[in-house]
């Protein structure tokens, strides 16, 4: 009898010890409000990057709130005085998921392939004339004109480095990856679900408490995402409708992650169509926008009044930038000066079908304009239909006001400004059809400076924005704030959950469950 009892105790002990040794696989679930994937080819990816950020890496990454670069695949870099030659030193011991080592040859190949394919946002590499492999771990870029290559190499897309030996387009489309990131792509289900899993030989090494598997799921309904978070079936979601956020605030198991983003909302005024061709009218309109009311009523507080066209925390933003406030008296005075003392005209505004923020913002402005006897007609349309109207070859058929969200592709305000207020024919995204040669010249000069002296470039950007704001072809409204929700048990630094340079991306490698 005693022997049996000892036997049972020993067996239990062994089982218990065995249990301690076996670690359960840590899985995190990201509930996304849109499709989680669009492209598989790293040279083509240009928009949805929440999965790929963890699978592919770039030479550098940028952390705007600290204004610093992090060496990812490159540990250091130098730039020649004229800004035309950039040399990057690669990190040793990095392996691709395929087992091959990272070399300068691979970097050269990846970037050249992206350029040649010409898809996605490959044109960010346009300033590059030639790439030279100096040695296994050193790569040198020769530029045609000065450009901020460190910013370009930190772009949210178009700058991924992958294994040249495994770079066939069809191979990528068959859901394979040849990246260097902490996770490798395992499988997907349509565009709605993707699973990535820990890459054991990641150069950063692994701790016990990190996630082994991350699952990305497309859950379109806000209420469902909320429910899944509350029951612990999801760990993070990039957004919840603000009305629902209010209810979530009191839940101790959940945490709202608030941070700046580079996504801003602006009203583009058609400078070619009367009465908006009159700068006084445009200025008056800038004073009629109920900014605070929009932040509260449309964004429920999760936005910041925009100052200029450069988003807050991106270099080039300045406190010295001119600001327009809601001021009915000034608006009325300006309207009188322009010849419309009692308003009396109608404007059409196009906004995005299905976007509640845009709709509410537009309705709030409409209500405000009513007091000036200006009729703002709202039309909700899908994106390409709006663009179709805005690009109508007959300018008289175009809209008066276009409500737009803008965001930069890389941590560089210049392409954003070029798109927004630079002379573009065809207009592409310059939907105020604004054209100012002074501004164009200054933009070009700033572009040259950006690669050489960023401080000077930032000064110039401020000047450009202030000059343009005098003409006010575009009324800046808000910079949106990220209001993501995560489980309180999901821990990590703030920048792992919200980095304006990489919108909606979570750096899963730097998070863990506590």
């Amino acid at each position: 009898m005693k022997q049996v009892m000892v036997g049972v105790m020993v067996a239990t002990l062994i089982l218990a010890l065995g249990g301690v040794g076996v670690g359960a696989s840590e899985t995190a679930v990201y509930l996304y409000s849109d499709q989680v994937l669009l492209h598989f080819d790293p040279s083509d990816i240009f928009s949805v990057t929440i999965v790929w950020f963890n699978v592919y890496e770039t030479l550098l990454r940028y952390y705007p709130e600290e204004d610093r670069f992090e060496g990812v695949l490159a540990t250091s870099y130098e730039r020649s005085d004229d800004g035309l030659v950039w040399t990057f030193h690669l990190r040793p011991g990095v392996k691709f998921h395929t087992g091959n080592p990272l070399t300068a040859e691979a970097v050269k190949y990846s970037i050249e392939r992206t350029k040649t394919r010409g898809r996605g946002v490959s044109y960010i590499w346009d300033p590059v004339d030639k790439i030279e492999v100096v040695d296994d771990l050193t790569v040198r870029f020769y530029l045609k004109e000065p450009a901020p290559l460190d910013l370009i190499a930190s772009s949210l897309a178009g700058a991924y480095i992958f294994d040249p030996a495994f770079s066939d387009h069809e191979w990528f489309n068959a859901a394979n990856d040849s990246g260097t990131g902490p996770y490798r792509f395992v499988r997907h289900s349509g565009l709605e679900e993707a699973v990535i899993e820990k890459f054991d030989d990641y150069w950063g090494g692994w701790e016990d408490n990190q996630f082994d598997v991350v699952i990305f799921k497309y859950v379109p309904e806000d209420n469902t995402r909320r429910m899944l978070l509350e029951t612990g079936q999801g760990d993070f979601t990039n957004r919840l409708a603000p009305e629902i956020l209010a209810a979530v605030k009191d839940n101790p198991e959940l945490e709202i992650v608030v941070g700046p983003t580079w996504e801003g909302s602006q009203y583009y005024l058609n400078t070619l169509k009367p009465p908006l061709d009159n700068v006084l009218v445009r200025k008056a309109l800038a004073y009629t926008v109920p900014y605070e009311q929009i932040i509260e009523g449309a964004y429920f507080g999760y936005a910041r009044k925009a100052q200029g066209y450069v988003p807050y925390t991106l270099w080039g933003w300045s406190n010295q930038t001119r600001i327009y406030t809601y001021n009915p008296e000034v608006a009325r005075a300006l309207l009188s000066l322009a010849g419309y003392p009692n308003g009396g005209f109608k404007l059409t505004l196009l906004h995005q079908l299905g976007d509640e923020f845009e709709r509410r913002s537009a309705e709030l402005w409409k209500a405000s304009l009513a007091q000036f006897n200006i009729d703002l007609e709202l039309r909700a349309m899908p994106w390409d239909a709006r663009i179709g109207v805005a690009h109508d070859p007959d300018p008289s058929r175009r809209q008066d006001v276009f409500l737009m969200y803008s965001w930069p592709l890389s941590p560089n305000p210049l392409p954003l400004l070029q798109d927004m207020i630079g002379t573009n024919e065809p207009p592409l995204l310059n939907l105020s059809y604004y054209s100012n040669p002074t501004v164009d010249q200054l933009l070009e000069k700033a572009g040259e400076l950006a690669g050489v002296d960023r401080e000077a470039a930032a000064e110039l950007v401020r000047e450009i924005v202030n000059i343009t704001l005098e003409d006010v072809p575009v009324i800046p409204v808000v910079d949106m704030k990220r209001a993501a929700v995560k489980r309180a048990s999901l821990a990590g630094p703030q920048w792992a959950f919200n980095n304006p340079a990489y919108p909606r991306v979570v750096d899963w490698y730097h998070t863990h469950r506590q």
Partner: protein, 336 residues
Amino acid sequence: MGTYIIRRLGLAVILVVGATFITFLLSRIVPSDPLMMYVGRFASQEQIERARIELGLDKPWYVQYARYLQGLVKGDWGISIRTHRPVVKELLERVPASLELVLAGMALGLSTGILLGIFSAAFPHSMLDNVSRIVAVSGVALPQFWFAMILQLVFGRLLGILPLVGRLDLNLSNPVSHLTGFFVLDSLITGNWEAFRSALLHLVLPAVAVATYPMAMSTRLIRAKLLEVLGQDYIRTARAFGLPEIRVFTRHALRNAAGPVVTMTALSFVFTLIGTFMVETIFGWPGLGSYAAESILSNDTSVVMSVTVLIAIATILLNLLADLVVAWMDPRIRYG
């Protein structure tokens, strides 16, 4: 009969071609710039031009239409402008989910409707009859999108007994194997009881929302047909012969009323399918309907055209089928 069939088939083909033309026409009127959606908003002018050629949008409209028809016949229904994947592939992924929902909804609706209609005809102008008639009319008058939301509110949120959205729980320990694409069936076949329960529970509310129209239609039709038949002479004869009422009802009345029900089922199938557009959107049901609704809202013309043509073809075929069945049953045409 032979000539009739050939004539009807010929007509059907003409209609199908006409349908593709109308669809094509509509898609070309849309004031849209699909290129900027296809290549993304940051695209450069060269990329846009290249995409224009790639998508064949630089050719005149009749060339585009000819290519489009060619593609339809060969099975290449274009690329979705939004997702860059072949439309046929995406449609096939979505069809099982919609079929499961429509069939479940129709089965539910027809069975309740027929029962209600029978009792209604048996006791006309009674309380039951009046209630069933209100129910029948309501089924047609009900805004399905609103009804779906109310169901969610009451059963999902307030009572909390049924799931709000989707086809399955998101974290099943054993995922369902994709055999037929009908999750209820697949989980049953593979003996995956957890998934079966989950799939069934998720199917309930959407099926109820979809069932309103077929229920309304069948109640009304059965009641009308039965009453009509019951007023016929041969029924009076049967009664005069002393046949028990139940016999009269089941043997004679029901049998004669059955025919039109079949035709009505076929014809209302498409209408019910359209109803699922909104039900799927509300319940996050990943079927053809929500796919079509999303695509219409984002002006994904290749998808919208494909769905429209698909449904038009389905309507034409079902009408053809219904006509043929009626003709077959009508001796004047069968032997004429």
